[in-house]
């Protein structure tokens, strides 16, 4: 088994003889290949070549292919290579190797680098516009499905929606509370630390109140929901797509939009405002606690100051944004899920894309809302 592979050549005028010996197997393929390359490189112009395989102890497909490669180096242009001493048990294998890889390999270089770069830019632009179209299309389909539900309320998958609310809403409560609480506390601490230099400690309450209610509460919650539930939506729908479950639904006469997507989107649109409310409260609580323990602003002062500085408007501005952002997260996640192609890699790519796109669009939407509210002076 361990016989090192050998290849000896002996030239004799017109005749060139190779003697192969040892084990020509996968394990030694690298070494044999070097021997052969060497032999082919100093290719003498012999007219008749003989390859003697009598010394070979073990041969597998790798060895057989290398023998064949050695032969092909001499075959053609009037010359000829011949095999001798082929052991009976290896004959079929050698013949098999002789018949494969006959198709001419594809030649011609790939496109030049500039073309590749231009091509990539074009492709990603096309991709971008396509995904925008897909988004709008999904929005339309979901709206249509919603209208259908208003017409026939009984067709709505209520159980499924409740299950989704449990997953994206109820189960997200602890982590949302924890993170918003911590962020509220951190903002308050930073505010006190810096405002104190101007003797303006008390304005920290204004800052925390307005920031949390208008922006931070809803943004934090949306980012968490996109990472937590948006990715789950994409992964679920994607793997259902991969295993043809969605096609199966279609063939049974169900519309995947009705069965899978509408309940998910309705659930997220209901859950996010609730989470936003809870998150904002937790952040205010965290802020208040730090103001009291670190800033020496006691709770009564904090509350009365909060009452003066914020109005119901601030609270509404934050909460109005929540369902729209939720809708974006849900729609992006579902679109990406349905885009998944057959491979596991594609599933990963679309799950990542779902989270990244959702967060990006949430922030863009937040900007649009900021302009809108500034214009109507709220």
């Amino acid at each position: 088994m361990s016989g090192e592979p050998l290849l000896k050549s002996a030239a004799d005028g017109e005749r060139l003889q190779f003697k192969a010996a040892g084990s020509w197997t996968a394990k030694h393929a690298g070494a044999i290949e070097r021997l052969i390359d060497e032999a082919v490189r100093q290719k003498p112009a012999a007219r008749r070549v003989e390859i003697d395989l009598a010394g070979i102890e073990h041969l597998d497909t790798y060895g057989a292919w290398l023998v064949e490669r050695l032969m092909r180096a001499w075959n053609g242009d009037g010359r000829e290579a011949k095999l001798v001493g082929v052991a009976e048990n290896y004959r079929v294998l050698i013949e098999e190797a002789h018949s494969v890889n006959r198709a001419a390999p594809k030649t011609g270089h790939g496109p030049s680098r500039v073309v590749v770069v231009l091509n990539n830019i074009g492709a990603s632009l096309a991709d971008f516009s396509q995904s925008l179209i897909a988004l709008v299309q999904m929005l339309g389909e979901v709206t249509a499905a919603l209208l259908r539900v208003f017409a026939h309320p009984r067709s709505f998958r209520f159980t499924s929606m409740v299950h989704q609310i449990d997953r994206v809403g109820w189960r997200a409560v602890p982590i949302v509370l924890l993170i918003t609480f911590l962020i509220g506390a951190i903002i308050a601490q930073q505010g006190i630390f810096h405002f104190r230099k101007f003797g303006a400690d008390i304005f920290v309450v204004d800052m925390v109140g307005i920031l949390v209610l208008r922006e931070l509460g809803v943004l934090l919650v949306c980012i968490m929901v996109a990472g937590r539930s948006g990715s789950a939506y994409t992964a679920e729908l994607g793997s259902m797509k991969m295993r043809e479950e969605i096609d199966a639904l279609r063939t049974m006469g169900f519309d995947p939009i009705d069965v899978l997507i509408l309940p998910r989107i309705v659930a997220i649109v209901i859950a996010v405002p609730i989470l936003t409310f809870l998150g904002s409260m937790a952040a205010l609580y965290g802020g208040g606690l730090v103001c009291w323990l670190y800033g020496g602003i006691n709770p009564e002062v904090f509350l009365s100051r909060l009452r003066e500085s914020i109005t119901l408007d601030h609270f509404e501005v934050g909460l109005i944004k929540a369902p729209f952002m939720a809708l974006i997260i849900g729609v992006v996640a579902c679109v990406e899920g349905l885009e998944v192609k057959g491979s596991a890699e594609s599933l990963g790519l679309h799950t990542t894309a779902s989270v990244v796109k959702a967060i990006f669009m949430v922030i863009v939407l937040d900007g649009v809302f900021a302009m809108f509210f500034a214009t109507i002076e709220k």
């Binding site: 197997t25 497909t61 790798y62 290398l66 048990n89 098999e96 190797a97 890889n101 198709a103 491979s343």
Partner: protein, 256 residues
């Protein structure tokens, strides 16, 4: 060849495998000899895949002993185990191709890991393997999701054969293929077995495969091997299940 002279490559003795309270395999004993094609049959759900998966180490056993090439697999370190694993190839019931690699890359995957090959050699040998399992060169760049069922099976076989194994385990290689492709696949297994001197362990429900390519058949029922031997033995048996299986209506129609 007398039984005594044949070299045993897989020896399963007293094997017990179960899930929860149920023992799917109950003291199973089975020998597989070098160079034979063993057909493994049994009712759906009788534990054929479980036996195969236990032998290749994907499921834990409760009792018993599994020897492959004379190595007791219950009692080896990681390195010895890997050395044995390199010498077998597995074709899973559903292909189990890596979905993010092309057909060619799937075949190259084990080669890249285990062998020291130049890129040219990697390309050429992998193409040769695809050709040997009867695929044309244009499938090389296709991803598993773009392959038909028969092509998937063939690519999976090429991958199972990538390292020139001594044993191949095939789990229902011809299920889901049309009769012509199934016939070709049987023929292919026969040819490859001759060319490469393979030992083939084949789970199958395909009576034609059993007739045409299997040297020996082992039957699993009620968690035990109830019979093993060549087709003639199976046909002669009076065991009710064997009678129903090999001489039932479908079998009769086949011979008609």
């Amino acid at each position: 060849m007398a039984e005594a002279q044949k070299e045993v490559v897989i020896r399963v003795s007293d094997l017990v495998v179960g899930f929860g309270k149920i023992n799917v395999l109950d003291h199973v004993a089975l020998d597989v000899y070098r160079g034979e094609i063993l057909g493994f049959v049994g009712a759906s759900g009788s534990g054929k895949s479980v036996l195969m998966r236990t032998v290749i180490g994907l499921l834990p056993k409760r009792e018993g002993r599994i020897e492959v090439f004379g190595v007791d697999l219950g009692n080896v370190n990681e390195k010895e185990r890997q050395a044995v694993e390199r010498r077998w190839g597995v074709l899973f019931q559903h292909g189990a191709l890596f979905s993010s690699l092309t057909a060619l890359q799937n075949v190259q995957f084990p080669m890249r890991e285990y062998l020291d090959l130049s890129d040219r050699m990697l390309q050429e040998v992998a193409l040769a393997k695809l050709e040997m399992v009867g695929l044309t060169a244009d499938v090389r760049g296709k991803f598993p999701s773009e392959l038909s069922g028969g092509m998937t099976k063939r690519v999976a076989l090429a991958r199972a054969l990538a390292l020139d194994p001594e044993i191949v385990f095939l789990d229902e290689p011809t299920s889901g293929l049309d009769p012509i492709s199934a016939g070709e696949f049987d023929h292919l297994i026969r040819t490859l077995q001759r060319t490469l001197g393979l030992t083939v362990f084949m789970v199958t429900h395909d009576l034609d495969s059993l007739h045409d390519v299997c040297d020996r058949i082992a039957v699993l029922a009620d968690g035990k091997i109830i019979a093993s031997g060549p087709m003639a033995t199976m046909l002669a048996s009076e065991h009710p299940w064997l009678k129903a299986y090999f001489r039932g209506e479908r079998a009769a129609r086949r011979r008609a």
